[in-house]
């Protein structure tokens, strides 16, 4: 199989962006990515937009984004799988290029979330759970992950402190990422003093809703090889699903979709979890990162709490994870997140991550989860 390369990256400021429309946010990331790739936008033969439409007043988002980016008349379309929409867009572009239908594509993850109220967002996100039998009891997105956390603590003895150590780490690195929403370190004491959300979670266990956009330029092997930039090759793409309802999951201590997706990605890339030098995982809640360590095989099932306690996911640990601050500190503009993860991994592979740079980063991984694990995309990215 020929390869697909990432030759340009762009990332806008995440946060409450009351200064910009969603297409203006998309433009910031797109411009940076096109300039980074040093390609003529007229050479781009299609775009894929990762976004979740319910949060926007604008209907049919790709149209307005495509026009504002100046990409008419080449094709565009939307991918939507909740918080994994950005990685779905990358996978779709990978498929488009592998099929021969496209040679050079822009993938834009973009989202505005702060135009609606927090209870409305809680209601919308809660309905990523199953609405017929679950939402009728007022379930929320944090509540679902709290159900996982309680079970993980019960089965494996994962502690409250270990959960919060994830937040402490991600804020530590977020404080060093100029694009992050929260660029401030936190302590466990401060986190324990925050308001309760859904037990055991408090405010600091949860990522924040945010506005933002990120963009990658993807190219066929032939086009990528002519790139002036070091190419980051998308060598493993894994994707899997799990039941919509938590009531039909085999267990409540991990995401079966993440296990399956990572197996596929590792297999395609011909690597194992031990080869991953830097990873971006979907830490929408503290327990989600702990489950990700396990589902991705960075440690045994149940050992995720110890993994963070021993700082194995810090930049100088066994497998550095979320060295850009993660969703926790960057903020989580849901459609943009998967693309944002990919941008960070490419930076790490190129050695452009500045004070966040991980040593010997030649193989990176992204793990992007949609909803409460109904969808998971795991991508392996490698430099030559």
């Amino acid at each position: 199989m020929s390869r697909v390369g990432i030759i340009g990256i762009g990332h806008g400021q995440f946060g409450r962006r009351s200064d910009a429309t969603v297409q203006e946010l998309a433009f910031e990331a797109f411009r940076e990515a096109v300039q980074d790739a040093q390609v003529d936008p007229k050479e781009i033969d299609g775009s894929v937009i990762g976004s979740v439409p319910e949060y926007h007043k604008q209907r049919s988002l790709p149209g307005v984004v495509q026009e504002y980016l100046g990409l008419n008349p080449v094709p565009t379309w939307l991918t939507e799988v909740a918080c994994a929409s950005g990685s779905a867009a990358i996978r779709t572009a990978w498929m488009g290029i592998q099929s021969g239908a496209h040679r050079l594509m822009a993938v834009i993850g973009c989202q505005k979330m702060t135009e609606i109220s927090t209870p409305e967002i809680l209601a919308l996100m809660g309905r990523v759970g199953e609405v017929q039998w679950e939402s009728v009891f007022g379930t929320t997105f944090p509540a679902y992950y709290a159900l996982f956390a309680q079970r993980h603590m019960h089965e494996f003895g994962t502690t409250r402190e270990q959960l919060l150590q994830v937040a402490v780490k991600n804020h530590f690195y977020g404080a060093r990422n100029p694009n992050a929403l929260f660029q401030k370190e936190i302590t466990i004491e401060k986190a324990l003093a925050s308001d309760p959300v859904s037990d055991p979670f408090q405010v600091y266990d949860c990522c924040a809703n945010a506005d933002g956009a990120a963009c990658v330029i993807m190219a066929s092997e032939e086009v990528a090889k002519k790139s002036s930039k070091p190419v980051a090759w998308l060598d493993g793409v894994g994707c899997a699903t799990a039941s919509m309802s938590v009531l039909r999951r085999p267990n409540l201590v991990g995401l079966p979709s993440a296990e399956k997706a990572s197996q596929k990605a590792y297999e395609m890339a011909g690597i194992g979890p031990g080869d991953v030098k830097v990873a971006e995982v979907h830490d929408c809640f503290t327990v989600a990162e702990i489950m990700a360590y396990e589902d991705l095989g960075f440690c045994e099932k149940g050992a995720g709490g110890r993994f963070i306690e021993e700082k194995q996911s810090y930049a100088d640990g066994q497998t550095p994870v979320n060295i850009d601050g993660g969703l926790k500190s960057k903020g989580h503009p849901i459609g943009a997140t998967g693309v944002s993860m990919t941008v960070e991994i490419v930076k790490q592979l190129r050695g452009e991550a500045g004070e966040r740079q991980v040593r010997n980063a030649d193989i990176g991984l992204t793990h992007n989860v949609g909803g409460i694990g109904q969808y998971c995309f795991v991508h392996v990215v490698r430099r030559d």
Binding site: T118, P119, E120, L122, A123, G126, R127, V131, Q132, W133, E134, S135, V136, F137, G138, T139, T140, P142, A143, A146, L147, F148, A149, Q150, R151, H154, D195, P196, V197, S198, D199, P200, S245, V246, L247, R248, L252
Partner: protein, 147 residues
């Protein structure tokens, strides 16, 4: 009528609409495929095993054990007035799982993983519209209306 099910109902139209009628009469119903016998909770009209659309209701005992739970403090639209509330996921004795609120017979301090529970059909008495649900109660608790 399925629109009766839940404080806020998001899916009034379904092939298992009679579930709510049974619940109003104090019966908790799962489904059983008439073709292959596969049983399910939540009930479903279409069999995931043999794809048959021919099903019947089967009354469940409501006997259950607790798998996990959480108390929700930050409530979504439509549930602010009842927050904080505690939800639990239980394994049903027959098959399947359900998610429900804990009822008054179990104070939060007495909730333990793996504890035995009884799923009890309930009606929101204080509301004018018919609204039914079920709650997680101490074993032995029988059908009653909410306070």
């Amino acid at each position: 009528m399925f629109k009766w099910f839940g404080k806020v109902n998001f899916s009034p139209y379904t092939k298992v609409t009679d579930f709510a009628d049974h619940l109003k009469d104090g019966r908790l119903m799962g489904s059983k495929c008439k073709q292959c016998g596969h049983e399910s909770f939540p009930p479903r009209a279409d069999c995931s095993q043999c794809l048959s659309g021919d099903f019947e209701y089967k009354e469940f005992s409501g006997k259950a054990t607790l798998v996990t739970y959480t108390t929700i403090h930050a409530a979504p639209t439509g549930f602010e007035d009842v927050a904080p509330y505690t939800i639990g996921v239980v394994d049903l004795k027959e098959t399947g799982r359900l998610l429900a609120w804990f009822g008054d017979t179990i104070p939060e301090s007495e909730i333990r993983m793996g504890m035995d529970l009884q799923v009890v059909p309930r009606i929101f008495e204080e509301l004018e519209d018919i609204k039914v649900y079920y709650s997680l109660e101490k074993p032995g608790t029988t059908w009653s209306v909410a306070e």
